[in-house]
Symmetry: C2
Subunit: 691 residues, 2 copies
């Protein structure tokens, strides 16, 4: 973590009850292939070609490979040393240099109970690294500069220590939950960290841990950035710029599909092209079936939401001016161009897309062509159009003028956007938001029968296809779709948005919609548990905790029965952390205030975590009956902290504690607001005490 080009390994051998000859082979192996995902094994798995091997010094070797499609050079240099009692241990050393495997075979005499320690120190550079001449020469040049393993470990531990301070989380009672949360953060920071800020990388859906999704970038950032925004916003900024660099490709993709603006791909590859598969193997039927998931245009909504949210949390004006506003405008323009005016309805419609629920790729008899008027997509498209126009107002006139000129964006087009934003169609049926138009005409699935027959019905789509049926016929979702609206937007925002669209959200519509889809979802994605825990947190705590546990256990227990070995589920991991930090604590950052509205079960004891609010390091401590905020003594200005209507100015080094009036559960259950509500009942005055 301290120096991203260094790897180190230490192995200590103790011949407990024998003496004799020990042979150790320490090599760099360029023959590794991608074989971890069973389903992919029939596809090409060899991605590396040998360029050269070399002996650099008596104890050091070099291996240089090149990726065979992207032509990226990858060079590693390794130094292997043996130690006994703090001194170099004598060993016979033979160079191993078979095709793409290079290193040493060390042979030595060992004696009973005398330890021998092998240290292997490796440097790694690629042609995509910055500040290099050429990867092989850098790997060779830096190897002798690295000290012994102890030194590297010390620096590694110190760098991790600094990260743990920023990502601090603690719990009084729930040591099992705590262990998983920390494991989640560990995996998150192994995938993206301060070391990736300067690289052109996104957040791979499955971390860097395995090969599922082949490193493609999907929408998972939506669940990951909230954790980073409040701790390492520099990293979020860098990850959003990864998307910004692919804006030209997204623009070209939109144009080639007949749209305007930027159409980001559902599965994004290194150059930002759409990499979603066109065929997908159903392991249940062994059939290759068409895969239309690329119709999930809503990925652009996630990107726009991330841009806006990053700006809201950090107030990073420079980012908005130079990157964010342009991204919002280009994504908004895409939504304006894909929306068509439906004269019979007097409203704009969006046809032929897929929602986050990947089960519905079309209608019975119109398979694979997408569904129409996905509520999540349409409502969020209106939101994106409005935020884009808001961003335009937030940036300086000169930059606005430049952007409008560059995009050839005229007031007339902006007028059309405003019109669309207010006239997008949203389908309803049976007093709930329809997942998409025509959902009500689908058949009800006999859930009990399928559960009884198959046990695990998460991948109902595959089960039905194997039965020569199609999930498109049924009211059945893989994961939260319409409910995503309640995950991303507060009830206040949502009511306002619907009002602007000319729909009135009655108080009961939200809980009704939640329950309607809860009964019709198979939770075939680990994200489903995160979203459902969130939307139920305020109204049905027990059920929310059930989903929270499921989200937490996703990879620890491999709850999907086989996907964890293919790689971790990074969004579920970060989403779990976010459930604690934002959902159960009710943490929000808006209007230059830090707002808290905890709904944390007293039974779980004290939860504590650290965040950075606009560069101010803070510690939050949530009890069942109170919420505390501790400001770092080094904080440079006081900040405003609010809890349920009470606002306190928090001085550097001070602490504020808000006693919580816990409303009765049944009152909450009918509130219909799955997100922290604006405080309405002011609590007793907060106390400011020295820390």
């Amino acid at each position: 973590m301290d120096f991203e080009h260094a790897c180190a390994l230490e192995v200590t051998y103790v011949p407990e009850d024998w003496s004799g000859r020990l042979e150790i082979e320490s090599v760099l192996d360029g023959t590794v292939e991608n074989t971890l995902v069973e389903r992919y094994r029939e596809l090409a798995g060899d991605h590396l070609d040998l360029l050269r091997t070399a002996a650099l010094a008596p104890d050091s070797v070099l291996l240089e490979m090149v990726t065979n499609q992207s032509a990226i050079r990858v060079a590693m240099a390794a130094r292997t040393t043996l130690w006994h009692d703090g001194e170099p241990a004598a060993a016979e050393r033979r160079l191993v240099d078979a095709h793409a495997v290079v290193g040493h075979r060390l042979t030595l005499e060992v004696h009973r109970s005398e330890t021998v320690t092998l240290e292997k120190v490796v440097t790694l550079f690629t042609g995509r690294d910055r500040a290099i001449a050429e990867p092989a020469s850098e790997a060779a040049r830096w190897l002798p500069r690295l000290g012994r393993v102890d030194d590297l470990v010390e620096r590694h531990v110190r760098a991790w220590g600094h990260l743990w301070e920023r990502f601090h989380v603690d719990m009084e009672r729930e040591s099992h939950m705590l262990r998983i949360l920390r494991l989640d953060l560990l995996h998150l920071l192994q995938s993206v960290s301060p070391n990736s800020v300067d690289l052109d990388v996104g957040v791979p859906a499955r971390g860097l841990h395995g090969e599922a999704y082949r490193g493609h970038i999907l929408w998972d950032e939506l669940f990951i950035f909230p954790v980073l925004n409040l701790r390492l916003p520099l990293l979020t900024r860098s990850l959003i710029r990864y998307r910004y660099r692919r804006l030209p490709e997204a623009r070209a993709a939109a144009r080639e599909a007949g749209y305007a603006g930027a159409m980001f791909p559902w599965q994004s590859g290194s150059n930002g092209e759409e990499e979603s598969q066109r065929l997908h193997l159903n392991p249940a039927s062994r059939r290759w079936i068409p895969d239309p998931t690329r119709r999930q245009r809503h990925v652009g909504i996630a990107i726009a939401y991330n841009v806006w949210h990053y700006y809201q949390v950090t107030a990073d004006q420079e980012f908005l001016v130079n990157y964010g506003a342009e991204m919002l405008l280009e994504i908004a323009r895409f939504w304006a161009s894909i929306a068509c005016y439906d004269h019979t309805r007097g409203r704009y419609v969006i046809r032929g897309v897929m929602g986050p629920d990947e089960f519905h790729s079309g209608y019975p008899g119109r398979d694979q062509e997408g569904i129409d008027n996905n509520a999540y997509t349409n409502v969020m498209a209106s939101w994106v159009l409005q935020r884009a126009m808001e961003a335009l107002d937030l940036i300086p006139a000169q930059k606005r003028h430049e952007l409008l000129g560059k995009m050839n964006l005229h007031p007339k087009e902006l007028g059309r956007w405003a019109n669309i934003a207010h006239k997008l169609f949203v389908p309803f049926h049976d007093g709930v938001i329809s997942q998409f138009e025509g959902y009500e005409d689908l058949e009800e699935l006999d859930w009990d029968r399928y559960r009884a027959t198959y046990g695990d019905i998460r991948r109902l789509d595959r089960i039905l296809e194997a039965e020569n049926d199609t999930v498109n016929r049924y009211k059945a979702s893989k994961q939260a779709d319409a409910l995503m609206l309640f995950y991303l937007l507060s009830a206040d925002e949502l009511r306002e948005l619907f009002a602007q669209l000319g729909y009135e959200l009655d108080r009961e519509l939200i809980p009704r919609t939640i329950h309607y889809y809860l009964d019709r979802t198979s939770h075939g994605s680990t994200l489903s548990a995160v979203v459902h825990a969130w939307v139920l947190a305020r109204s049905e705590r027990e059920r929310a905790l059930h989903f929270l546990t499921e989200a937490l256990e996703a990879d620890v227990a491999d709850i999907q029965g086989g996907t964890t070995p293919e790689a971790i589920h990074l969004a579920a991991m970060a989403g779990s952390v976010d459930l604690f930090q934002r959902c159960f604590s009710g943490l929000e950052t808006r209007q230059d205030q830090l707002l808290l509205n905890p709904y944390w079960p007293e039974s779980l004891g004290v939860m504590e975590f650290s965040i950075r609010y606009r560069e101010h390091p803070l510690t939050l401590r949530i009890h069942g009956d109170s919420a505390e905020v501790l400001a770092s003594p080094g904080m440079q200005r006081p900040i405003e902290v609010a809890c349920r209507g009470e606002v306190v100015e928090l001085e550097p080094g001070a602490r504020v504690s808000f006693p919580l009036l816990v409303p009765r559960a049944d009152q909450q259950a009918v509130s219909g607001d799955p997100r922290p509500a604006r405080p309405t009942v002011p609590g007793p005055p907060g106390r400011l005490a020295p820390p």
Copy 2:
């Protein structure tokens, strides 16, 4: 300028008085070599190896090369089309595909007075580009996406238009000067622009225009960033991050030389290693002589100054926290480690370096080992140590704690820094600052005789070496050295700095020092004119204008007699612009104020230029007898503008005009302050008028 991967060429053929067969060859040529600098021609000039050529379409070809040392792939794709009367012109087309040359030979019949237009559109990608899969596939993929030349030109012109708004400069009378200033800005923006923000590039001393210095990065940024900071600070930030990425290399270089902290190289290559030549050809003697210019450790001072200055102008806290503070601390640590305590003097000394004056690489009898106690280096080392400690106070406690931990920097070491900062030795002689210790013992040169004998004595070092003498024996400088202090720091800052070091600067010392070295400088660098114009601007306007003219003419007239064809002198170009914007207008940005103190000759008429002050676009209009500031109507807040003691709050869209009381020239001549003084005589109240 709109799309960095696109190039376009249009050639129109008009057979004015004939008809017949026209043959045109349009190719991509991979056989280009570096041959522009005559002195380098005996060195390797071929840096490209062929990977492949291909025909992509009937009108399009691909050329893929790889650099033979850095292994960077470079791919270009070209589309050649012929047009007549807006329609494709019929032509016979033959593929040309000789070794590393690929394209088309087009043959067609042309008729008298009928024009035929050739359009060549090219895409260019390298393996160092971001958001790509692999350069050749990207070049091929993007080529068909590019429109015709007209379309590309329109977008190019619009992008340049936006840049020109930011870099606007105008003059009422001096159309010659104006033309050169705009030419300077053109060359600057062709070398670094918004298109280079996302690349890992520095500012090459000679632009991207030629091969002198082989693209190495020297200290020229010092003269260039002031122009960028006030117009495109995002670019400066990116260019400083180029240095930040090379901090690990600078740290290793310091360690390997026996020092601590970061020792940046005098000539920096792609991986940040020292690339200064060890031998240098003297064209006058045809001898290869040792080149110890790498001893110019003061390059680290320039980097630290740039970091600090960028922060001062932009108030970019995020930059300071994440990059700037660490750079300042590492550079400060180097100076603390190279400084030795001299017990006899009771002061710290810095031995064995070279100052900006590259003539003095040692003492007579101690050639090439550097000189001791270069005044510029020692004074600025004290300045760097103080700014590093100031930066540490400016960043949040958590980050400070992380940095101190990472650097293993303890209070004791910081205490030593403070001590060194107050006890560095500065040599004086004859009532002036000595360029370095022992300067007074050197012989006076017979300047008249050398001028009479050789005419151009700018490169006196080469002349003397050819005479078997050495410039090390003489009081003779190539360019401003001690005078750099007056260029970088205001008289107030300087007096404070010297006072902290325990030296009193009497009022006359500055002008005396200026004149002393003016008489002993050959101006062998184009930078010399910039610095001398600056330091004389307040005291001797006529002489300053002479140097200003020389700086402006440097490349237009190739005043060095032969260096311009090797490439432009980018620092002199930007430095010339800066003379207008900061020196003659007395523009400063500090303490959240925009300060003006113009000393602009009335005879030159009105000068006008645009800047951005913390994202506020402003236009400055300097008359001989008044100074105006116009705020853009879109500006988001009022700003404070001050001129000679008078402070005005400038509202968005408003204008302020300060009448100037011009002090008598002789009063100024003795002021001894080459930089804008703090206003002492308040002028009449400013007027706020609608624009």
